[in-house]
């Protein structure tokens, strides 16, 4: 059941001498929801377009269901794409848009009619058959774009930032909608976005990409809680990333104070990056904390308060807490050992660049 549906093997691609993908390997299991996540220019869309067949890789192979489809034109591939900004055919009615793929395959009229009905129902737009594309809202157009893709019963659905053009509320609704569709249809989804929240909400696997490399691949929980490098930590959620020294296993020194942690195997007295999520910082009485600081900013965010705590040396810690500490108050910082994430420092300048973009 969990066969790899699609395998990207040693894919490289460059445009006009700029390397966009460098020796990329990626395997997507059947019936999974994989999200390619990263800042713009990280190569995620290029990867998607290589799977879709709209661009061919300079090197490497695309294996789909065990078959090499690297040179197969997009119209022969058993997968469909939902495009950024929908790419609906404005000169056709909604029904004609949805029927496009089926007509090309030469399906019978009755079959096509049934399929249109079914697909419109699936995306909650029953009765929209004869409307024109221009008369639809962005969200509705998006649903049509999805309907147009899924009536072809693809094994794999590629989604290229499909929710990028929608407003926040609609985006959240559509996220649930997509999850529902995925579950109802049982199709494999490969989803591209730069929105980490979207990625965390919907996927079962997240692939974080930057500058043509895969930075980390894993479940949302793994990506969030155990980022493998500073880039992932910074890109996924908000983080305090500070310099630290691994004194020995399970003990790290930050700003001269020692914190107990759970990480091992970094060696003794090794410089490391330490990641602490804002919500993992407990503010306590000054004496009870490992570090002392002064609250310098305070904003009420609804669910929690967002505060900045400046510690001696000038570092401003970002803290999320349901307890409020007024500006100017001296507080203590406490972090539980399992909330401290230790990462190796990047080895070279190059790797640094990989980590610090955007």
């Amino acid at each position: 059941m969990t066969q790899p549906l699609i395998d990207l093997v040693n894919i490289s691609k460059s445009f006009d001498g700029d390397i966009v993908l460098d020796d990329l390997n990626l395997s997507v299991k059947e019936n999974s929801f994989v999200t390619l996540l990263g800042p713009s220019g990280c190569g995620k869309t290029t990867t998607l377009r290589i799977i879709g067949g709209f661009i061919s890789p300079d090197q490497g192979k695309v294996i789909f269901g065990g078959e090499d489809i690297t040179k197969m034109p997009p119209n022969k591939r058993q997968l469909n794409t939902v495009f950024q900004k929908y790419a609906l055919f404005t000169h056709m009615s909604i029904a004609d848009n949805i029927a496009f793929g089926l007509k090309i395959k030469g399906k019978s009229k009755g079959y096509i009619q049934d399929k249109i009905k079914y697909a419109l129902k699936l995306v909650n737009l029953d009765g929209f058959e004869n409307r024109s594309v221009d008369s639809l809202s962005g969200g509705q157009q998006q649903r049509i774009a999805i309907a147009r893709a899924i009536v072809n019963e693809p094994k794999l659905l590629l989604l290229d930032e499909p929710l990028g053009a929608l407003d926040l509320k609609l985006r959240q609704d559509m996220q649930y909608e997509l999850i529902r569709l995925k579950n109802e249809l049982g199709i494999t989804f490969v989803y591209v976005t730069h929105d980490q929240e979207e990625a965390l909400t919907m996927s079962d696997t997240i692939v974080v990409m930057n500058q043509g490399y895969i930075q980390q691949m894993g479940t949302p929980e793994q990506i969030y809680n155990e980022p493998e490098n500073a880039f992932v930590a910074d890109f996924i959620g908000e983080s305090n990333i500070v310099d630290g020294i691994m004194v020995r296993d399970e003990l790290v020194e930050i700003f001269g104070e020692k914190f107990v942690c759970v990480d091992k195997g970094f060696g003794n007295l090794t410089p490391v990056d330490v990641v602490i999520r804002p919500e993992d910082i407990d503010l306590v009485e000054p004496e009870a904390g490992t570090l002392k600081g002064i609250v310098t900013h305070l904003i009420f965010k609804g669910v929690h308060y967002e505060m900045e705590v400046t510690t001696p040396g000038g570092y401003e810690w970002l803290v999320h807490s349901t307890d409020m500490f007024p500006v100017g108050k001296e507080v203590g910082i406490h972090v539980d050992p399992f909330d401290i994430q230790i990462m190796n420092k990047p080895a070279s300048e190059d790797e640094e660049a990989v980590g610090v973009n955007e």
Binding site: F15, G41, K71
Partner: protein
Amino acid sequence: MKTAHSRFKEFFENFYLVLVLIFLYAPIAVMMVLSFNSSKSRSQWGGFTFQWYSQMFESSAIMDALYNTLLIAFLSALIATILGTAAAIGVNSMKKLPKTVFMGLNNIPMLNSDIVTGISLMLMFIAFGVSLGFKTILLAHITFNVPYVMLSVLPKLKQTSKYTYEAAMDLGAGPVEAFFRVVFPDILPGVLSGFLMAFTMSLDDFIITHFTRGAGINTLSTLIYSEVRRGIKPSMYALSTVIFVTVLLLLLITNFSPDKAGTKSSPSKGVQTASAGSKNSGIRQKILLTAASFFIIAAVSYTSWRHVASSHSDELYVYNWGEYIDESVIEQFTEETGIHVTYDLFETNEEMYPVVEAGAVQYDVICPSDYMIQKMAENLLLAEINLDNIPNLKYIDPEYMEQSKSFDPQNKYSVPYTWGTVGIIYNTKRIEELGVPAPTKWEDLWDERYRGEILMQDSVRDAFMVALKVLGCSMNSVDPKELSKARDLLLTQKPLVQAYVVDQVRDKMLSGEAAVGVIYSGELLYLQEEAESLNLDYELEYVIPEEGTNIWIDSWVIPYNARNKENAEKWINFLCRPDIAKKNFEYITYATPNQGAFELLDKEYQENTSVFPDTSTLTNSEVYQYLGTEADDLYSALWKEIKSH
């Protein structure tokens, strides 16, 4: 990783692109080559030369036309841009219905055929008594330019967010300031491309200019059109080459500036692409602005120079056939008399007539042909010439004054300038190849063996003259029966005819395109000299057909509305001076009726019976007479039947 299929496709696409580019640019290459051809002929290569380039800069006609063309293009584009941009902003704020009406009207000059636009404007200018000239061309060009400006500004305007304007107002800018600082920069690319488009359309226009231009003003298009009939001077090719190369260089500089590298789009480089693009267009704008200001400075200085050069109190407006005077004669006239001459050209009598009749342009002295002089006199368009002011009339051979009486019975309206016959010119080698004896009579032009080898005159009267003479009728016949017979005869001849042409007979005979042609005797000397200089392996001979032919006389007349009648008489007297008449003859090679000049000519010319035939042999020949409106309409209707058959 390109498959063979996609490589083949790419090759095919490249091949197709190249093919289209060849199609587009082949004629231009031909012109460029011709600009270096030392022979005047379009189809004979006479060796490499730069002479046309130097001639081009020396020819005041060409430089004036160039100046007019550029000035009109620039001014009309500028005014159209201002008018069009303002209108685009205005129409953008209109409600739907007025907007639709407005855009409909706006589209008219663009969608309407040029000929209708040109004619409608001409009719209006004439109806409102606006004299045709520089300003009418300018007004016409602005009219057809505005729609192009609107077309390129409106889309930009639609893209512009109205909030930026409001934001600027909010930040304290006044409406005007807000517009120029915020909205205008946004639509500037559209405005600029509209300007460029308008400039190009104005530059390339011929038809509308043709109908709205007046005395003494030529643009390159109209100058070229007047030359098309007489054979284009290679200096025109030289000029076009210069213009083309200049524009090409400007384009290459603006399009391939050093920061080109970033303009190819790649997904990862979206941001850089945008910035490089805007930098690029910034450079283009700068170059455009520099070019524009350079042009304005050049134009202003040239205008003021021209103004100084032409600030004469004494003026004379001359209306003459194209290439029908030695230009140095005009200069000499101005030098000797201090009268400044505005010299204008027409190609046919019929084209000249309505211009004079409408009085839209006031000429002082005109050179029409015989029958047209009669028509003008009958319609009271001519003033009597005070012959006392023309003492040199004594040099004109009395025989021609006698001949002139057929159209000017009392010799009071006209003074003969040139005369000649119409005959057949033939290519000795070509008729030998066709196995036809040399033609001696008009009827020979119906010989089947000449199929596709005959050049007929593209003029009603000349074509009918040939047919009427074959039928043994008078060339001044108004008898519908005779005329229908003549029509039928011409219809049977049409399949044999290669083309109906006017002055292109010269070029086509020289290049061996045709075996025989109907030609005016005046073209002969030029042809024979040119044939000699090209070392052709054939000779061009002229024969006056046995049936008799048309003797034509072109004479100077003074129109009724001449403002400088005395100057006109001075002009006529000047041209009657033997040395001047000789100079003119040697340039235009049309026989002169001036006895004094004839005596000054080389013996070789005097004895050339093609040019100066013994008038006693022309027994069956006649001079054209004006036949009246009704007959004119009949001729023109019959001619249309022949042409449309």
